[in-house]
C-alpha cells in the first residue's frame, strides 16, 4: 500500500491535461490514498483562473482523488527547480511514498531534481506500476520500444513519470469531492536562479494533444508537403496529427508535431503512418503504439517490419479513399 501524490498538470486556462486521469486511476490501484498537487503558475496569478474548477474537482473526486493541494509560490512554478522544491516539501508533509507525473520533458526535470534532493528512485516513461513484495515495480520499454523491462524502486521514496495511454481510465466505486488545501510557499533563492523570461503556450489546435491522443495519423516526406489528406483522416478518426522530422524540418507542419526520439514519444491505440520510411529515430517514438498501420509506395520500407496492417500504395489515393469509406461506414 502506497500513498500517492499526483501532479495535476493543466493548461494555462485551467484545463486538466488528459493523461492526469490515467495517473489517478493508476495511483488508486496501488491501494493507498491518492492526493493531488495543483501548482498555480505565475506568482501573481496574472489573469489565470485559480483552478481547479468545480467540474474538474468533481471529476478528480470520481476518479478517487481525496485531496488537492493547491500551491502558489513566490516564483513561477513552471520553473522545475521551484516546483521540485514545493513537491519535496509536500511529499514530506503528506508522508506519501510515491509521486506520479505525466511523462513530459518538464516533469522529467522535476523528477531529476527530486532524486537529488530527496534520494528518491526515479523511473521515467513507465507504462505500468504495481506493488510487489512491498516494492514499487514499474514497466517500461527501452531501445525504441523493442525491449520491455520491469524496474523496481529500491529507495523508500519513488518518483515515476508515466507515458500517456498506459492506463484505461476508471472511476472509483467510492468517489467523492476532494477537499482543497491552499499552500503559500516561499521557495529558496537557489530555486529562483533561472529566470523564465518568456513562456508561450501553444494554442489548442482543436485536435487532441499528440502526446496523449488515442489515435495519431502521421505524415512524412511522402506527403510532399501536403498534409491535408493526413489531417482529413485524423479528423475522421478524431485523432491527432503527427509527422517525421523531415516534414517538420521542411516546415510543412509545426515542430511540435514531430514524433520520434528527439520529438514526442507516443503510444496511441492506433498509429497510421503515411509516406514514412520508418527510420529508427522515428520508430523510437512510436513503436510502442497499440496497432500500427503504414502506407508506403515502397514495399521495402522498414516501417512495414513493424506494421500490423501495411499497404503498399500511393498515399494520395489510399488516404482519401479510407477517409471517405470511414465516413460512409459511420453514417
Amino acid at each position: 500500500m502506497t500513498d500517492t501524490l499526483v501532479l495535476l498538470d493543466h493548461a494555462a486556462d485551467g484545463t486538466l491535461r488528459t493523461p492526469v486521469r490515467e495517473l489517478v486511476t493508476l495511483a488508486r490501484s496501488l491501494g493507498g490514498s491518492v492526493q493531488g498537487v495543483w501548482a498555480l503558475g505565475a506568482p501573481d496569478g496574472t489573469g489565470a483562473p485559480d483552478g481547479p474548477s468545480d467540474a474538474t474537482l468533481a471529476e478528480l473526486g470520481a476518479l478517487g482523488l481525496s485531496r488537492v493541494h493547491r500551491v502558489r509560490a513566490d516564483a513561477d512554478l513552471h520553473l522545475s527547480a521551484a516546483l521540485a522544491e514545493v513537491l519535496a516539501a509536500l511529499l514530506d508533509s503528506t508522508g506519501a511514498g510515491l509521486l506520479l507525473a505525466t511523462s513530459t520533458f518538464e516533469n522529467k526535470e522535476v523528477a531529476a531534481r527530486l532524486a537529488v534532493a530527496t534520494g528518491a528512485g526515479v523511473v521515467t516513461d513507465a507504462d505500468a506500476l504495481a506493488v510487489e513484495d512491498g516494492r514499487l515495480v514499474a514497466g517500461k520499454t527501452v531501445f525504441a520500444g523493442t525491449w520491455t523491462t520491469r524496474c523496481a524502486v529500491t529507495a523508500p521514496l519513488a518518483v515515476v513519470t508515466v507515458k500517456a495511454n498506459s492506463v484505461v481510465v476508471q472511476t472509483a466505486d467510492d468517489g467523492g469531492t476532494p477537499d482543497v488545501v491552499d499552500h503559500d510557499v516561499a521557495v529558496s533563492a537557489a530555486a529562483r536562479r533561472v529566470t523564465l523570461v518568456e513562456r508561450t503556450e501553444r494554442p489548442a489546435s482543436g485536435r487532441p494533444d499528440l502526446g496523449s491522443a488515442h489515435v495519431v495519423v502521421a505524415g512524412g516526406r511522402g506527403t510532399e508537403g501536403d498534409f491535408s489528406l493526413v489531417e482529413e483522416l485524423a479528423d475522421v478518426l478524431g485523432g491527432a496529427v503527427g509527422a517525421t522530422r523531415v516534414a517538420t524540418d521542411e516546415g510543412w507542419i509545426g515542430h511540435d508535431a514531430q514524433i520520434g526520439q528527439t520529438g514526442v514519444t507516443i503510444s496511441p491505440r492506433l498509429y497510421i503512418g503515411a509516406g514514412i520510411s520508418g527510420a529508427v529515430h522515428h520508430r523510437g517514438g512510436m513503436q510502442a503504439s497499440g496497432t500500427i498501420v503504414a502506407i508506403n509506395s515502397d514495399p521495402d520500407a522498414p516501417i512495414f517490419e513493424i506494421a500490423d496492417f501495411g499497404i503498399v500504395g500511393d498515399l494520395t489515393t489510399v488516404l482519401p479513399q479510407a477517409s471517405a469509406e470511414l465516413r460512409r461506414l459511420k453514417g
Partner: protein, 258 residues
C-alpha cells in the same frame, strides 16, 4: 562538456540478465545527440574565447567518444573509468560527472557544462538536470538555441505544450537538442591532431568518490526483468489494387479502432 558513449542505435541493442546494457564492443559510438552538444560548446568557445573539454564516464571503449570530441576540435579530453561505476543509474552517473567537473574546475574555471538532450540508449534525459542540481548551479535544459553574453546564458526551448526562454548567470548546465545546430564533420587534420592529444584518465579515487556512491551499489532502481518485445503477430501486408483505402477502413472498424 559531457559526451556519452552508447551502443550504436542502428545496431541490435540488448539488455543482459543483470538488466544492464550489453556493451560487447565493436558497435559502440558517440551518442549522436552529443555531437550537437560538442558543436554548441565549440561555437560558444570560439565566440567567447575559452577551451572545450570533452568529458565522458564509461567503460574502456567509451574513450572513443572523447576522441571523436578531440577530432571535432575539443582542446582536452577526460575519461572517467572505474569498474565500480558499472550499473549506475542516471543519478549515479550524474554524481560521477559532477565530481569530475569539480575536479576540473580546480585547474581552471568551468563556466558552462553542455550536454546532449538525451542518450539515445536509455533516453531518460535526467542527467543534465541532476548534474546541475548536484553542482548547485542553474539548469537550462533542451535548448533549441543558446547564447552566452556578459556572463549570462540564455536559451529558447520548445516543450510539448509551450515555448520558453530561460536565462541564468554562469556557471550553468545547458542541454542542447538536435535543432540547435548542424554538427561539423571532423576533417583529416582534426583526426590526425586528435591522435596526438592525450586523454586524461581518472578513477573514482581521483574524484574522491566511494564505490558505494555509484554503480549498482548506489542505484535506487533496479531492473528486475528484461525481455525483447514479442514481434507483432497476425501482420497483414497488402498491395493496393484500387481498394486499399476501403480495406483499411474495414480493418479499423473490425478491430474497433474507428
Amino acid at each position: 562538456m559531457c559526451v556519452k558513449h552508447v551502443p550504436d542505435i542502428q545496431s541490435d541493442r540488448a539488455l543482459g540478465a543483470d538488466g544492464r546494457v550489453v556493451r560487447d564492443g565493436g558497435d559502440g559510438t558517440l551518442n549522436e545527440l552529443d555531437e550537437n552538444a560538442l558543436e554548441a560548446a565549440l561555437v560558444l568557445a570560439e565566440e567567447a574565447g575559452g577551451e572545450v573539454v570533452a568529458l565522458t564516464v564509461g567503460p574502456d571503449d567509451a574513450v572513443d567518444a572523447v576522441r571523436k570530441g578531440l577530432a571535432m576540435g575539443a582542446d582536452d579530453a577526460v575519461h572517467v573509468v572505474d569498474d565500480a561505476i558499472a550499473g549506475s543509474d542516471a543519478i549515479g552517473t550524474a554524481r560521477v560527472l559532477a565530481a569530475a567537473v569539480r575536479h576540473l574546475s580546480q585547474e581552471r574555471p568551468v563556466d558552462l557544462v553542455v550536454t546532449g538532450m538525451a542518450g539515445l540508449d536509455g533516453l531518460t534525459s535526467l542527467l543534465p538536470t541532476a548534474l546541475a542540481a548536484l553542482l548547485d548551479v542553474p539548469a537550462l535544459p533542451l535548448a533549441a538555441e543558446v547564447t552566452v553574453a556578459d556572463g549570462t546564458v540564455r536559451v529558447r526551448r520548445e516543450l510539448d505544450q509551450a515555448t520558453e526562454v530561460l536565462e541564468a548567470t554562469l556557471p550553468a548546465v545547458v542541454s542542447v537538442t538536435d535543432q540547435t545546430n548542424e554538427p561539423r564533420y571532423p576533417n583529416f587534420k582534426g583526426i590526425m591532431a586528435a591522435r596526438k592529444k592525450p586523454v586524461t584518465t581518472l578513477t573514482l579515487a581521483d574524484l574522491g568518490l566511494a564505490a558505494t556512491d555509484v554503480g549498482a551499489a548506489g542505484a535506487r532502481t533496479q531492473v528486475v526483468e528484461a525481455a525483447p518485445r514479442p514481434t507483432r503477430e497476425d501482420r497483414v501486408l497488402i498491395n493496393d489494387t484500387g481498394d486499399a483505402g476501403i480495406r483499411l477502413a474495414a480493418y479499423l472498424v473490425d478491430n474497433q479502432l474507428a
